[in-house]
């Protein structure tokens, strides 16, 4: 069996706590799918739910607010990994719950 847990945790630690341009609190909020200030809100809301609906305007608005491309890159990565992490953990919890009953 493949166990990605250790490497997945390292990934999360790097994007949330590693050297970066975006503030740690903003990276954490993006990861958690929480509320963020307006210029980023539509972009990160789509990244967290329906990423295929992200449009040029969503990224352009974030850039126009004064954010650098590196900051946008970081918060989008955090939002994407956060979304995937929530789903992955929900599925693993369901698997653990049913094997206990057996």
């Amino acid at each position: 069996m493949t166990d990605i847990e250790a490497s997945r945790r390292t990934l999360v630690a790097r994007i949330l706590e590693g050297a970066g341009r975006a503030a740690a609190g903003l990276r954490r909020a993006a990861f958690d799918g929480g509320d963020v200030a307006e210029p980023l809100r539509p972009l990160l809301a789509k990244v967290s739910t329906r990423a295929h609906e992200v449009g040029d305007d969503d990224v352009a608005r974030a850039r126009a607010s004064g954010m650098s491309e590196d900051e946008i890159f970081e918060v989008v990565v955090c939002a994407a990994v956060g979304r995937a992490t929530r789903r992955h953990e929900a599925a693993l919890a369901a698997l653990r719950a049913c094997t206990k009953v057996e």
Partner: protein, 195 residues
Amino acid sequence: MNMRLSILDRGHAFGTKVLFAFIRTVSRQPTPEALKLIAYRPAFFGAQMKTVTHEAMRGPSAWSVGDRELMAAFVSKVNECEYCIKAHSAVAARAYGDEAKVAAALADLDHAPIAAPLRATLHMLAKLLREGSVPVDDMRALLGAGVSRAQIEDALAVAFAFDVTNTLACAFGFTVPGPKAFEAGAAFLLSRGYR
């Protein structure tokens, strides 16, 4: 077409740009968008993402490489990521040596010529990605259908890796190249993996 962040097209370190030029020369294809993403500031994200993806796709598993590449293509379909559907359909077809099987599984899962445990696992992944979770009863049914706990965890690892990649491909606006580019990419990923 450019990505939505110019740093992902042109912001790489000098040595990385040299590598990209080499890859373009050898493959006679544009630098793959996925490589541009993973090679940008690799200490922040890409290097570790490669590790996670390689473990999920090429680590020890009861699923074959073809099965896992099909899962990657299928997850990409649920997430509506055209670039990743095409990229991993090409790898799965090459791994199986059967393009029709991959096309059938993506077009009509219930009638595709694949084994029942794989079909049931793909249905579970679709529900996870559409609804954000899987009911415990569904997991129990999957175990009852002969899919081992380890196989389920392995499938969930593939889904994690491609949920991340699909999301970023869509958000950053990966340009979808022609079939020859995906053929070249598939040959590379099958021989070298994701490291």
